[in-house]
């Protein structure tokens, strides 16, 4: 199975959370995973409730089920550039001189594409790294990657570089990175919600990845809410059986000690808003169904994670990881 998992998705879909849950899920049973952050938001540190991550691989969690470990790394473009230069040269003072000249600023900000070269390069280095015995240091590397709109260009940046630098070490390094990214060793996963825009972006994004011959992994549908009522039921509640519903509501609330003398009037005021909420619910469910149909049309493995009503905390993260495992993400 793949060893580099690139997690992308539209903003607001819970990309970082899903990447973290995936890293936990893949680390179960004594495996070791590295969770990589590339956008400098420190989202991983916040999720794992740890202090700001330095540019250094550091253990942040123990996976459920026996000895697995999750390491995290927040890649810093400037430090990664010095690393990168170090790969080709012993750049002690020369590295500092470059910095003084403003070359590092230039490379990491003014020439923005280079930033992506460094980030993908660093992730691929972690994927390929072996210990003295020749075993991979990390069983899996999970990358919290840029959003859908940028992911293909982000992953393909080394192709562009290889085209620009047609010979020399940069060319070779770029090609080595692209070999990893385009091989079955890599899987790009898309996180989506069952809402129109995220689904559309997911479908478009996957088409782009496929056109660029980048390996698409799976779709993770996040924040799924269970369907509780269907439109026919809501119609009945609003029309034919409104009076009966009001009575049932009144009786049930009486048992909870709601209101008191003026209960009847208050309950009457509750019926319409409750029905209105139910209508919104059924409307949303209908839209979600359309979204699901589109996603299933992609022919990819799909995982679903339920909405955690109170937001994602550490316990929620472990729950999501368990759920992903149960659905077969580690197989």
């Amino acid at each position: 199975m793949s060893r580099l998992h690139v997690v992308s998705g539209k903003g607001g879909t819970g990309k970082t959370t899903v990447a973290a849950a995936l890293a936990l899920a893949l680390a179960a049973e004594g495996k070791r995973t590295l969770l990589v952050e590339v956008e400098g938001r420190q989202g991983i540190a916040q999720l794992f409730e740890t202090e700001t991550l330095p540019y250094e691989e550091r253990k942040i969690a123990v996976a459920p089920g026996g000895g697995g470990e999750v390491f995290a790394l927040a890649i810093d473009a400037e430090r990664a550039l010095l690393d990168y230069l170090q790969m080709f040269y012993k750049l002690g003072s020369a590295g500092r001189a470059l910095k003084k000249l403003g070359a590092i600023d230039f490379a990491t900000t003014i020439a923005p594409g280079l930033r992506d070269v460094l980030l993908t390069g660093k992730a691929c280095e972690a994927v390929r790294r072996k210990d003295r015995l020749g075993n991979f240091v990390y069983d899996h590397v999970v990358m919290d990657a840029p959003p859908t709109g940028r992911i293909t260009r982000f992953l393909n940046v080394n192709d562009e570089v290889a085209g620009l630098a047609r010979i020399g070490p940069i060319h070779n390094q770029a090609q080595a990175v692209m070999r990893v990214l385009k091989s079955p060793e890599t899987a790009v996963h898309m996180v989506t919600l069952l809402e129109e825009m995220p689904v559309q972006e997911t479908v478009d994004g996957i088409a782009e990845l496929r056109a660029a011959k980048l390996p698409v992994g799976s779709v993770v549908i996040n924040m799924v809410r269970p369907e509780m009522l269907d439109p026919a039921a809501v119609d009945i509640a609003a029309n034919g059986r409104r009076a009966a519903v009001a009575r049932a509501l009144s009786d049930a609330l009486a048992q909870t000690g709601f209101a008191g003398a003026d209960r009847a009037g208050l309950v009457e005021e509750l019926v319409d808003p409750l029905v209105a909420q139910a209508r919104e619910h059924t409307e949303r469910v209908a839209l979600e169904r359309l979204g699901r149909t589109e996603i299933s049309g992609l022919g990819l493995p799909t995982y679903e994670l339920e909405l955690l009503g109170d937001g994602v905390d550490l316990a929620g993260l472990y729950r999501m990881a368990r759920e992903l495992r149960k659905q077969g993400v580690a197989r």
């Binding site: 539209k10 903003g11 607001g12 230039f106 630098a165 509780m228 269907d230 509640a237 519903v245 759920e323």
Partner: protein, 489 residues
């Protein structure tokens, strides 16, 4: 598709108005009143920033529609709109030119134009405008330029600001509404002038340019020992041909870089001017509001004029006086059956009342647990495959005796409990923000069931944004209907 504001949602807003609770002290944060900002002829630029997926583009478009219909000549600059939203405004073609939007009510004398940013085109235009013909051709054909301009991270920000400067300079509109790229780096444009400055004043550019200017060995000699030490590695590292491309590019851009800096400085000052209003857009979610706080702090540090926070997709409830706990208890009472007088229609054929009560099998265990923390083990796994369609006439396994009206009512109550939990969470996250930044006025926009992609939908969003009386009601009432201070389950 539901672009309408939905009667449901409107009823909710109005319905809650009656409840009118405004008791919570934390709610004292001031309310953002957007119309005076849009109407003020001195407001010339509105910048919408915020993290991805919070509805920035929709907000920018809705503000554009509203300002135009209130009589201003508006142009909306969007970065990457959803396809259908772009179509609704007639800007689904990328030609980098503002297009008139039809279907706008122009009776107040306003008009609306919209455009979608084409990064590469904008970059090319800069080159064509500021370099002589031959030099422009050299730049446009340079492979290094071609990949730089095609839009790597960062280029978008520069080009959005460049375009803003251009639109402002044309002075054809009296209000420009700008959407910003969907990432934290959206504020990178604020750094552009100083970054360009430090780069241009730095020696690196000279190292890069000198060999191209003077050529070969002579250049090295000119630069002295220190410099040749750098050019050597650069040459080896990048390959002679790439270094040459970069050098050609940089030297060809040389004259333009100066212009870049001048314009970036001008845009920066423009953004600081009182005629600009920044709006930070967020959704009531932890991450989005944390990003919003970052934007607010950053804008303050740069002395950029912040008008306020637009909080999209806020949930409300017309039945806020009924707490989640009590709703669940009542649903449980209904599920327990006995004790509820049977309603006359309980003998009806119940087929067709589809209640997708997937949780009814575990109702007992659910309410026994803290209803706020449902673990996967006591809910059906959504991942077990296909969505489960409403099983008509398939009674909930644990409650065969429960009549359909009771089940229906219990369903309404459970949905309400869910909604109230969402409300509570949203309020907690919002309060965290307002207690950090009590100085920032906030406008809330109620959630819609579906996406917006026509002018009517944008108009409705604008209306919700502007009419903030409903906002107080989007939060649950603290006092319960039975007169007690707080609800206990």
């Amino acid at each position: 598709m539901s672009v309408t504001t939905g009667d449901a949602a409107r009823a909710e807003v109005n319905g809650a108005g009656a409840a009118g609770a405004w008791a919570n002290g934390l709610d004292a944060a001031s309310v953002l009143d957007i119309d005076p900002v849009l109407d003020n002829p001195r407001t010339r630029i509105v910048v919408c920033c915020g993290s991805g997926g919070v509805g920035k583009t929709t907000t920018a478009a809705a503000l554009g529609v509203r300002a135009a219909e209130r009589g201003r000549k508006v142009v909306v600059l969007t970065i990457d709109p959803a396809r259908r939203l772009a179509q609704s405004m007639g800007i689904d073609e990328l030609d980098n030119v503002p297009r008139p939007v039809t279907g706008i009510d122009t009776s107040a004398g306003g008009e609306l134009h919209a455009m979608m940013l084409d990064m590469k085109r904008t970059f090319d235009e800069i080159v064509e405008t500021h370099a002589d013909k031959e030099r422009a051709r050299a730049i446009l054909e340079n492979p290094f330029y071609q990949s730089l301009s095609a839009g790597f991270a960062g280029t978008q920000e520069y080009m959005a600001m460049e375009k803003l400067g251009q639109l402002r300079a044309r002075d054809e509109w009296d209000l420009i509404v700008v959407d910003t790229p969907p990432s934290r780096s959206a504020l990178d444009f604020l750094d552009a002038p100083s970054r360009l400055g430090s780069f241009l004043d730095g020696k690196f550019i000279k190292v890069l340019m000198t060999p191209a200017k003077i050529g070969g060995r002579a250049g090295m000699k000119f630069l002295g020992v220190g410099m040749s030490m750098m050019s050597g590695p650069l040459n080896k590292l990048m390959g002679a041909q790439l270094l040459r491309d970069v050098q050609t590019f940089v030297s060809a851009m040389d004259t333009m870089f100066g212009g870049f800096r001048t314009r970036a400085d001008a845009t920066y000052r423009l953004l600081q001017a009182p005629g600009t209003a920044f709006l930070v857009v967020a959704a009531p979610e932890r991450d989005a509001l944390r990003e919003a706080a970052y934007f607010v702090e950053r804008l303050a540090a740069e002395r950029m004029p912040l008008a306020g926070l637009v909080l999209n997709r806020v949930h409300g409830s017309g039945a806020a006086r009924l707490s989640a706990e009590r709703a669940l208890a009542a649903a449980q009472a209904l599920a327990d059956g006995p004790g509820i007088p049977r309603t006359p229609d309980s003998s009806e054929n119940l087929d067709g009342v589809g209640i997708v009560d997937r949780d009814s099998g575990q109702t007992g265990s659910r309410t026994a647990d803290d209803p706020g923390t449902r673990t996967p083990s006591n809910t059906s796994s959504p991942g077990s495959g296909s969505p489960q369609p409403a099983p008509s006439g398939d009674p909930a396994p644990s409650a065969p005796s429960m009549d359909s009206t009771a089940r229906l009512t219990a369903g309404l109550l459970r949905l309400h409990a869910e909604r109230m939990r969402v409300l509570a969470r949203e309020r907690r996250t919002r309060d965290r923000f307002t207690s950090l930044h009590p100085e920032v006025p906030v406008a809330e926009v109620a959630a819609l069931p579906g996406d917006v992609h026509d002018l009517a939908g944008l108009r409705a969003i604008g209306e919700r944004l502007a009419v903030q009386t409903a906002r107080h009601d989007a939060t649950p009432a603290e006092a319960t209907a039975d007169g007690k201070g707080t609800e206990n389950p």
